[in-house]
């Protein structure tokens, strides 16, 4: 029985984004959509274990939830004439799919990632409404109390309603900028999963997996946007190394990873996505990051890495995004080509003293240069700055190895 319940809940979770998006489009109200979806789940949990899962569970859920929403609206219409006027304005026509770009989920994704919402609210709403994560799950993933996360989401939903944030795919002129906001949210969700903060699991696969899943959906909806393809490539090539990246609670850096432990299906998929980007030849930040990851995952061993290619890609990235973080990552690659001293002199100049990766990179270079005393201090600073348990464990080991 509990197995059946879990199966229904899994199906529900998979269908959730589509379901909510269709209901929001039809009824123009997120709360009504969520409530109706919840009621449809309750009905499914009652009926499916006995009568079996219907042939089109998504369609069944959408119809059931739609009926529940109409029931609720009728009840409220009778109760409150003022509400009636409000509901009459909403688009009550059944949704007709009119092409990939018109998908309801895409509209809802742009609503959730709207620049008028606070950045942390964008992430939470996206995971809640499109990912189908519960408020409790999102709160746990971001290490905030459930009531705080609930308030954050409620406040954002209120603003969407009161300020009329549209459910609409932005016009072509605004699409690149708005799309980059959506991609940033998906990338942040992934990163929080990949280098999780706090005392819990160092990697939260539910977040990385969700970010990959949502980016895959976005790619299906916008197959001609090279940055979407680039982000998906970047995420799958990073996700492919997830299992090999932590051993006994310690972070395993790329050059020490067991490459046989990578997910080679994901690597192949990522390489294919990068090739598609290259053919399109409209490079962007995520595509270049994906290409860098393709170079790394293409090498049979760390020693075989084509570092000149990596540095060339970072040069290209620097032209698009001349930020100190890009300069730091470039310098780490330069160390492999031109030696640690060259890289160190670059790194020393970067204004990143609050960033754990800056201290970690500096510590590593100082260690390689045999400057043990300074390396120890740098490792200490990196340990103090990181919020990830596996990275902290790794840095402590490296520090301990110094004599």
């Amino acid at each position: 029985m509990s197995g059946e319940t879990a199966a229904v809940e899994r199906l529900f979770r998979e269908e959730y984004g589509r379901l909510i998006a269709a209901l929001v489009r039809r009824f123009g109200d997120i709360d009504i959509a969520e409530e109706a979806a919840g009621e449809a789940l309750v009905t499914a949990l009652e009926k499916w274990p006995e009568s079996g899962v219907p042939p089109n569970p998504g369609g069944w859920l959408t119809t059931t939830a739609g009926n529940r929403a109409i029931d609720r609206i009728r009840r409220e219409k009778q109760r409150d004439a003022k509400h009636q006027a409000a509901f009459m304005q909403h688009d009550d026509t059944p949704h007709e799919p009119t092409g990939p770009v018109e998908d309801d989920r895409l509209r809802l994704l742009f609503t959730c990632c709207h620049p008028a919402l606070a950045p942390e609210a964008r992430i939470a709403l996206t995971l809640r409404l499109l990912g189908g994560l519960t408020v409790a799950e999102i709160a746990r993933a971001f290490l905030v109390p459930e009531t705080t996360m609930a308030q954050r989401i409620t406040r954002a939903k209120k603003k969407i309603k009161a300020a009329k944030v549209p459910y609409r795919v932005p016009a072509a002129a605004d699409l690149p900028e708005r799309l980059s906001g959506v991609l940033a949210v998906l990338f942040l969700v992934f990163n929080e999963g990949y280098l999780a903060t706090g005392d819990g699991d160092p990697v939260r696969s539910e977040l990385t997996g969700e970010a990959v899943r949502l980016t895959r959906i976005l790619r299906g909806l916008l197959p001609d946007e090279p940055e979407v393809t680039g982000l998906l490539g970047l995420l799958v090539l990073t996700e492919a190394r997830r299992e090999a990246r932590v051993r006994n609670g310690q972070l395993v850096p790329l050059h020490e990873q067991d490459r046989a432990g990578w997910d080679h299906a994901l690597v192949a998929e990522g390489h294919d996505l990068v090739r598609q980007c290259l053919r399109r030849n409209r490079p962007g930040r995520y595509q270049i990051l994906a290409a860098i990851n393709a170079v790394h995952t293409d090498a049979p061993s760390a020693a075989d890495t084509d570092w000149s290619q990596v540095v060339a890609l970072y040069d290209q990235l620097t032209r698009l995004d001349p930020s100190p973080i890009v300069a730091l990552n470039r310098a780490v690659a330069v160390a492999e080509l031109d030696g640690p001293d060259v890289a160190l002199s670059t790194i020393e100049r970067l204004p990143l003293t609050g960033y754990h990766a800056w201290h970690a990179a500096r510590a590593e270079l100082l260690r390689r240069l045999g400057r043990s005393v300074e390396a120890k201090e740098a490792y200490d600073a990196a340990i103090a700055a990181t919020q990830n348990t596996a990275e902290s464990a790794y840095l402590s080991r490296k520090r301990g190895e110094l004599v």
Partner: protein, 120 residues
């Protein structure tokens, strides 16, 4: 359609040219704002707009007691005050934000966009 308040925020302390550096700057901003206002009218967004006198000309009235109490000066002593505003009628927030960006460019101040309450 919904009504939005687009309020222009600027420094409380201003020179003789309002919040602007010179007479020319002020006149240019006024001219740009006139053009923007005209656009709001012709495109059907216009509800109302106006510039406000300095915050120091404000009076606060508290009518909650038996006799109203008047206090000279603005309700909050802040460095930034509302210098003027538009009320526009727009289909959604994206349109309101676009108008606000245009209005901000025209008048040379930061603009806060806030929806009016109630159905609409």
């Amino acid at each position: 359609m919904a009504h939005y308040l687009l309020s222009v925020h600027g420094p409380a302390e201003t020179s003789e040219f309002g919040g602007y550096g010179s007479k020319e700057e002020m006149e240019e901003a006024f001219a740009r704002t006139d053009v923007f206002n005209e656009k709001l009218r012709t495109e059907g967004y216009w509800v109302f707009a106006g510039g406000l006198e300095a915050a120091s000309t404000a009076t606060v009235v508290d009518g909650r007691g038996e006799t109203p109490v008047m206090t000279d000066g603005p309700y909050l002593e802040t460095k930034e005050v509302i210098g003027g505003f538009w009320v526009v009628d727009a289909p959604d927030l994206d349109v309101a934000l676009e108008l606000a960006a245009e209005g901000s460019r025209a008048c040379g101040g930061k603009v806060e966009v806030r929806p009016f309450g109630g159905v609409g």
